[in-house]
């Protein structure tokens, strides 16, 4: 799994009621944000194809 998936799995929210408890750790958020520019380039490339 990806980084965010691993973090999510570790939180183990089993019930729908528990889903909204817990937040994405700041380091994961920063990592995702740092990955975003290259992902955006890829998506835009596909748009223009």
């Amino acid at each position: 799994g990806s980084l965010e998936e691993t973090v999510y799995r570790d939180q183990k929210p089993n019930q729908v009621a528990d889903l909204c408890e817990g937040i994405l750790p700041v380091d994961v958020l920063q990592k995702l944000k740092s990955q975003w520019p290259s992902q955006e380039d890829q998506i835009l490339k596909e748009f223009f194809q």
């Binding site: 999510y8 799995r9 929210p13 992902q39 998506i43 194809q49």
Partner: protein
């Protein structure tokens, strides 16, 4: 082989559902319609895996199948006829019936692109075979190509009016095949191809967005789904740092002030001129807004003139107090500003989680409604006692 692989695991689905559920959104999952058997029928085995998992988790999800199937041949080299897609939707519908969680869930489609000739033909054939089992007919709309769009396009009454004929076309097809079926804009924004840089993500996009919300409601579209909240390109409601852009604030204000009962409002000029540059719409005020009462009405107006326009309410409303919510560019960039002023105050988040209070400016009875050059705003007529809204 020109496309990336995107692997969706159960954990991806958990994350997606969590995001939607915890944000107070409804999740509609678009299944892959390009997975085909040798006889060209849709192969539902992969969808079944996902349904098994979502059902086991009791996830409340609605479903679509395929995205812009009219372009499948161009984009993927796979041609699927409208009638085949209709049959595929019936297969999906029958599959959903097998899950107690999804027996009464939403199924929407076919998410066709602009209703040009081939798409119209596809929509007709799709609805003939699958129209009865879907809950809403979905189609997509963009005014212009993001790579070539200009400032002028965003302010053109002709381009704004082009939506009317497209909606009319879709309604005609739907009413001829499945009369009365609900119609949604299942994906829409100002410009396709990721939006127009510097236009779709600034104040100027609000002219197209607000006019689209007004026209769509007036002509009977039930739901308008905005492309996009977050993502690649320029048409997103929040930027890459999750900061709200002008269309986010416009959407928020719209949701707080505008209810879903539509009134038949129009503007009559005192001069004999082209009124298409001053566009007005009126709804009952959102009954969930604690600041307003049943019977109140919300007028929203767009001034495409390069000069201030002054409107007067009809005599039946002229002795009422009005709350004004005027939106203007937030900085010196003018129409290309990435921020917006509400009644003179820049709108911004209080902190990462808290939205600001959106305050109206009280106008005395009889006050004219003033729209500065190239601007838009909302006017809530208090104590209007409109019979349609009581």
């Amino acid at each position: 082989e020109e496309y990336r692989n995107a692997t969706i695991t159960t954990t991806t689905m958990d994350l997606l559902y969590r995001f939607a559920h915890c944000s107070g959104l409804n999740l509609i999952f678009g299944l892959n319609a390009l997975l085909r058997k040798g006889n060209h029928e849709w192969n539902s085995s992969n969808a079944k895996l996902l349904l098994d998992y979502c059902s086991s988790k009791k996830y409340n999800v609605s479903w679509e199948l395929g995205n812009e199937p009219n372009s499948f041949r161009k984009k993927s080299g796979v041609y699927i006829d409208g009638s085949q897609l209709g049959k595929d939707f019936v297969d999906l519908h029958n599959l959903l019936l097998k899950y107690s969680s999804y027996r009464n869930t939403g199924l929407f489609g076919p998410d066709i692109g602009q209703p040009k000739k081939q798409s119209q033909k596809m929509l007709k054939r799709f609805l003939t075979y699958g129209g009865k089992i879907i809950n809403s007919v979905t189609w997509h709309h963009y005014y212009v190509d993001g790579r070539t769009a200009s400032e002028r396009d965003f302010l053109s009454p002709d381009i704004l009016d082009s939506l009317i004929s497209e909606i009319t076309t879709v309604f005609k097809i739907v009413n001829e095949t499945v009369p009365g079926k609900l119609i949604w804009l299942g994906e829409t924004s100002s410009a396709y191809g990721g939006g127009a840089r510097g236009l779709s993500n600034t104040y100027i996009d609000g002219f197209m967005w607000l006019d689209k919300l007004g026209i769509s409601a007036k002509l009977g579209i039930n739901v308008v789904m905005r492309q996009a909240l977050f993502g690649a390109g320029s048409y997103n409601l929040v930027d890459s740092d999750f900061e709200p852009l002008p269309d986010y604030w416009l959407s928020l204000l719209f949701k707080k002030l505008v209810g879903n009962i539509v009134l038949d409002a129009s503007f009559k000029s005192s001069e004999n001129r082209d009124d298409r540059r001053l566009r007005v719409y009126m709804h009952c005020t959102n009954s969930d807004n604690p600041n307003y009462a049943l019977g109140d009405v919300t007028l929203f107006a767009i001034n495409l003139y390069n000069s201030t326009q002054i409107m007067t309410l009809p005599s039946i409303l002229s002795q009422k107090f009005v709350d004004e919510y005027l939106l203007l560019p937030g900085d010196d960039e003018g129409l290309f500003s990435a921020s917006v002023l509400l009644n003179g105050q820049v709108l911004k988040m209080v902190d990462d989680k808290v939205l600001p209070t959106l305050n109206g400016k009280l106008l005395d009875p009889g006050s004219p409604l003033v729209l500065p050059p190239l601007s838009f705003g909302f006017f809530v007529v208090k104590n209007a006692k409109a019979s349609a809204c009581l």
